[in-house]
C-alpha cells in the first residue's frame, strides 16, 4: 500500500471511531440484478424508523442502488462466481455504505461528464453523477473496486 493509501486508511479508522453507530451490517451477495434488494430495504427501514426525512432516504436509496448496480455490472460483470460485499453503518447523524466488487477497478477520473450536450442522448453514464450529487461524500479506493458513500443528516431538522 502507498503512504497515501495508508494515510487514507488511518483517517478512515479515526472517522469510524468517532462515530457512534446504532446499526450495522456486513453481507456478501452474488452478482445478480436485485440480489442486494433485502439489504437495501433493511437500511431504508432503519433510516425511516430513525426519522431521516424523505429526501435523505431517497438520496441514500439512489446512491446505494447505483453503486451496487455498478459493482454487479461493471465490476463483476454479472459473473455469478464473484461476489459484492456490502457494509452499512447507521448512526444518529451519519449513514455510511461501502460497496466492494471483485472486478478490475477503474479510474473515476476517466468517466466523462454525462451532461455534456453531446452525451445527453446516450442512455448510460449517469450513476456516478447522481451518487455525487445526492451524497455528502463519495470516495473510491485506489483501484476503483470499492466505493464509500456517506450521507450526513440535515442540521436544521426538528428534534
Amino acid at each position: 500500500m502507498t503512504s497515501a493509501g495508508r494515510a487514507a486508511k488511518t483517517r478512515e479508522r479515526c472517522l469510524m471511531a468517532n462515530e457512534h453507530w446504532t446499526w450495522q451490517t456486513d453481507q456478501k451477495i452474488v452478482s445478480e440484478a436485485g440480489a442486494a434488494r433485502g439489504i437495501q430495504e433493511e437500511l431504508l427501514r432503519k433510516m425511516r424508523a430513525a426519522r431521516w426525512n424523505r429526501h435523505e432516504c431517497f438520496a441514500v436509496r439512489l446512491a446505494m442502488e447505483e453503486a451496487i448496480v455498478n459493482a454487479i455490472t461493471h465490476g463483476n460483470r454479472y459473473d455469478t462466481a464473484k461476489q459484492v460485499r456490502i457494509r452499512c453503518w447507521l448512526g444518529p447523524e451519519l449513514v455510511r455504505i461501502e460497496v466492494r466488487d471483485e472486478g478490475p477497478g477503474f479510474d473515476p477520473a476517466d468517466v466523462p461528464d454525462p451532461t455534456d450536450p453531446e452525451r445527453l442522448q446516450c442512455p448510460c453514464g449517469r450513476g456516478m453523477m447522481l451518487m455525487r450529487h445526492f451524497m455528502t461524500r463519495v470516495e473510491y479506493d485506489e483501484s476503483g473496486s470499492t466505493v464509500v458513500l456517506e450521507k450526513r443528516r440535515a442540521a436544521g431538522r426538528a428534534k
Partner: protein, 117 residues
C-alpha cells in the same frame, strides 16, 4: 390494445397517456420488461404522442433514465413526441442534475402536458 404488466395505458383524444404500475423503477427484470412495454407503444403500436404521468413513481434510478432516453430516441426517429408530467420533487431533481430536463418536455400535470402537444 395489449395488456401491460407495468404500465396503464389510456387514450385522451389522440394522446396516449401512460401511468406506471410500479412505484419504484429500478434495475432488475421488471425494468427490462417496463422498457419493453414502453418501446412497444412506439415500435409495435405506432403511437406518436405519449404522455408519461409519473404520479405513482416514488423512485427511479439511472437505468430508468436510460429507458426513457431510448424511448425518446425511438419516438424522435418515428417523428412523434413525448411529454412527462406529475414528477415529484426528488425525481425532478434527478432530471435537473443530469440536465435531462433539457431533453424532455416536463410539465406540471396531465392537463398542462395535454395542452402542450
Amino acid at each position: 390494445m395489449s395488456e401491460y404488466r407495468h404500465i396503464e395505458v389510456n387514450e385522451v383524444g389522440d394522446v396516449t397517456v401512460v401511468r406506471f404500475r410500479d412505484r419504484k423503477l429500478i434495475e432488475d427484470i421488471r425494468i427490462q420488461e417496463l422498457g419493453h412495454e414502453l418501446f412497444s407503444l412506439v415500435d409495435a403500436e405506432n403511437r406518436d404522442k405519449l404522455l408519461l404521468n409519473f404520479s405513482q413513481v416514488e423512485f427511479l434510478s439511472s437505468s430508468a433514465l436510460g429507458k426513457l432516453i431510448t424511448l425518446d430516441k425511438k419516438m424522435k426517429t418515428a417523428g412523434g413526441a413525448i411529454k412527462l408530467s406529475n414528477i415529484r420533487p426528488e425525481i425532478f431533481e434527478v432530471f435537473t442534475i443530469t440536465r435531462l430536463d433539457r431533453l424532455f418536455d416536463i410539465r406540471d400535470d396531465e392537463a398542462d402536458a395535454l395542452a402542450a402537444f
